[in-house]
């Protein structure tokens, strides 16, 4: 009985102590910039840590409080956090209507137009790229209006190939789509899986179809489709043609056997081990293919038809945005400028990631490496205004619907015509809500 009161006091003490947060004494000049990013992968995270350390060194009295999350987690929590006074000052916000557009609609993001002029971001990035992070003030129009985010990295979707395998069989990088089709047939005849692919996660199937689609569309169409301008439709001949090309590859068994049950990571692992000759995905995979494997890989853009310029899916990586209610606007803008500086470009390149900003002139790219291939591909489409879009940006539910219909198509439950009708219907139904 004598132990009972002691126990109660002990429990209460633990609870009270646990609830109390020790107050940190902050000197008056010290500022903390809270930054949320999604560069959780080892190589990427090291770059951010390095950049943050150098920023702090240049700005005595400023300390950066970094929080890193996986993109899915970040997208969920950032929507809540940016409405908070204690939220991050700078945060990476996913592009598109569902994330950035929704936040702009609620006035939670700061317009970066003035800073863009001040730091000359509109000279570092072409307008067509900045448009991808732009919305009108009410969040309704996409691809125009004010700039709400600046991206440090760039992405391009293309074809990775196993260099060792190509050398062994005497295959060459194709320069036209017909040559590409011949190459696929040759690889298949050699008894090797032509394209490593798994559709269980869904989103990479969108890239695969859209990569072919991009060889058939015009610059204006793909812009209009994604930004919902000029009343375009998905029900077009060229979309159907691209879809049939994709469908043919499925029927010809050009993909990993049983790909319907394989996920994205698993299919990349398989490609890395040399179990397939090619895989079609984005430049973000390149750093992973540099370590932990004895094969060498290269990258090339999906070649197009002779009569038509070939666009490629691509764009800017996840951008940095500033919380509208932050008190450290200038500091936040300075941080963002640092993240897209030449020094940042250098560090991204060292880590094998394609930077969105131009590399410093004195930076030496090793020729014939995988990374050089991806940078070259990006610089190519950027310079020639051939940077395509992620078509799932078109409507808030487009991502969902595309995965839905693609998985049905890939299991032969739906036909290409039904796919086209399904997606067009989705697009048309959404248009009225835009008003």
């Amino acid at each position: 009985m004598k132990k009972k009161p002691f126990l109660i006091i002990f429990l209460l003490a633990t609870i009270i102590l646990g609830a109390c947060q020790p107050k940190q004494s902050t000197p008056s000049e010290k500022q903390t910039l809270v930054v949320w990013d999604q560069f959780y992968r080892d190589e990427e995270s090291k770059v951010i840590d390095q950049l943050n350390a150098e920023f702090e060194a240049k700005h005595p009295g400023v300390s950066i409080q970094r929080e890193v999350k996986v993109l899915e987690d970040l997208s969920l929590t950032v929507k809540l956090a940016l409405a908070n006074e204690d939220g991050p000052d700078v945060a990476q916000v996913n592009q598109g209507r569902v994330d950035m557009g929704a936040l702009v609609k609620d006035g939670l993001l700061l317009s970066l137009d003035d800073y863009a002029k001040q730091y000359k971001w509109n000279e570092r990035f072409p307008g067509t790229l900045l448009a991808r992070n732009s919305f009108s003030e009410d969040g309704k129009q996409f691809g125009t209006g004010h700039i709400y985010g600046v991206s440090p990295t760039a992405e391009v979707v293309g074809v990775y190939y196993n260099k060792s395998m190509f050398a062994q069989h005497g295959w060459a990088v194709p320069t036209s789509f017909d040559e590409f089709l011949d190459l696929l047939a040759k690889i298949y005849e050699a008894g090797i899986v032509p394209i490593s692919f798994g559709s269980l996660d869904g989103w990479n199937a969108i890239h695969l179809f859209s990569a072919i689609q991009h060889l058939h569309v015009s610059r204006e169409y793909i812009d209009d489709f994604v930004y919902s301008r000029n009343d375009v439709s998905f029900d077009t001949e060229f979309n159907l043609k691209a879809l049939y090309q994709f469908y043919d590859w499925v029927k010809l068994d050009y993909f990993t056997p049983n790909f319907q049950g394989i996920g994205y990571d698993a299919s990349n692992e398989s490609f890395k081990k040399g179990e397939a000759a090619l895989t079609i995905t984005g430049s973000w995979l390149a750093p992973e293919l540099l370590t932990g494997t004895d094969q060498t890989f290269g990258f090339f853009l999906l070649p197009g038809y002779e009569e038509q310029q070939a666009l490629a899916i691509g764009g800017l990586g996840i951008p940095f945005s500033i919380r509208a209610t932050t008190e450290k606007k200038d500091l936040a803008a300075e941080y963002i400028d640092w993240m897209v500086s030449e020094r940042a470009a250098e560090l991204w390149a060292d880590a094998g990631m394609v930077p969105a900003m131009p590399l410093p002139k004195k930076y030496k790219l090793q020729n014939d490496t995988l990374f050089a291939d991806t940078v070259e591909a990006w610089q190519n489409i950027n310079a020639n205004n051939l940077v395509g879009h992620y078509i799932d940006w078109a409507t808030p539910t487009m991502y969902d619907r595309l995965v839905f219909w693609l998985q049905r198509l890939l299991s032969f439950v739906s036909t290409p015509e039904e796919f086209i009708i399904g997606i067009s219907q989705e697009y048309e139904d959404w248009k009225p809500y835009q008003q």
């Binding site: 997208s75 969920l76 929507k79 409405a83 569902v98 929704a102 936040l103 609609k105 609620d106 939670l108 969040g139 559709s199 269980l200 996660d201 869904g202 990993t256 056997p257 049983n258 790909f259 319907q260 049950g261 394989i262 996920g263 698993a266 398989s270 808030p396 539910t397 969902d400 995965v403 839905f404 219909w405 998985q407 049905r408 890939l410 299991s411 439950v413 739906s414």
Partner: protein
């Protein structure tokens, strides 16, 4: 039977309430109030994440029951009841009655082993089973090929016919241990004399099971049914980790839809509507089970 708890003379009857108060407060703040707020949200519609909401009466509910996506997700939930409830309860009953009546060496070890899946986080279970079902390197297909049954080795989670049962089997694997342990403890409650009496009357093992074990297990059956059915209707993490509704919505469940509407499409009110309807369905089923088993309990005694 005494219903009144013994109280010492001079003891205040509010003392018991005081012990309950902290937990009650926590429950109110973190569980009950959010539930009320969710139900309240379902009667509104907002234009944007933090924008002003307008009261729309039952419009969300009407819209909900007109969408085939919700109804097919609900159907998948009910299919899951077979894997969450029927299979584990049947198998659990069989295992429990076997282990209780037959002295198996190392019984405690078996009980622990069979219960382990319950202890794992559902996300871990999902990731693990996703790997198990991998068409090329997963153990299930490797085993089938080793047996010479290549034609059965397929893309389980990518198939429109097999994805839902595949996820269901992972769920059954988690639940059967729980049912078995529950029934084992229930069987040990049944007086030995009943078994002696029936065997004296010439009953074989099966008749003993049917006439002694089963009726004696009615309270446990009711608990098992309720817990597993609720789990089947509530499922989210297992499906999210294994297929996210793939392929083509064939494993889509209401939990996934709620998540998608709330967090991916920023429509919290609509998600709240779905959540409220799901809660009502669960409540209804629980009440029905309780009713049915109350009658049986009276009959058995």
């Amino acid at each position: 039977m005494q219903n009144k708890a013994k109280r010492y003379p001079g003891e205040s009857k509010w003392k018991g309430l005081l012990y309950l108060l902290p937990a009650l407060l926590l429950y109110l703040i973190f569980t009950f109030l959010p539930i009320l707020e969710t139900i309240r949200s379902s009667f509104f519609q907002a234009e944007s994440l933090y924008g002003a909401r307008s009261f729309v009466w039952f419009q969300n509910y009407i819209k909900l029951f007109q969408t085939s996506q919700f109804l097919s997700a609900l159907r998948n939930n009910f299919v899951f009841i077979f894997f969450y409830s029927f299979l584990p309860i049947s198998f659990g009953l069989f295992l429990a009655s076997f282990l209780a009546r037959v002295r198996v060496p190392g019984m405690r070890l078996f009980r622990t082993l069979y219960f382990i899946p319950q202890v794992l986080s559902m996300v871990v279970v999902g990731v693990m089973w996703r790997w198990m079902y991998d068409p090329n390197i997963g153990p299930i297909n490797v085993f089938l090929r080793w047996l010479g049954l290549e034609q059965f080795a397929q893309a389980w989670l990518g198939s429109f016919t097999f994805a839902l049962p595949a996820v269901g089997m992972a769920a059954a694997w988690v639940q059967y241990g729980f049912c078995m342990v529950l029934f084992l403890s229930g069987i040990q409650r049944i007086p030995e004399e009943l078994y002696e009496a029936t065997s004296l009357d010439g009953a074989n093992a099966f008749r003993q099971f049917w006439h002694v074990t089963l009726p004696g297990l009615i309270p446990e059956l009711s608990v098992a049914l309720m817990t597993t059915i609720i789990a089947a209707l509530r499922v989210f993490d297992l499906v999210f980790a294994m297929t996210k509704g793939a392929p083509g919505g064939s494993t889509e469940v209401t939990g996934l839809l709620i998540y998608r509407w709330a967090f991916e499409l920023n429509n919290h009110s609509y998600a709240a509507t779905m959540a409220t309807v799901l809660t009502l369905i669960i409540l209804l089923i629980s009440l029905v089970i309780r009713r049915v088993f109350k009658q049986s309990e009276k009959g058995a005694l």
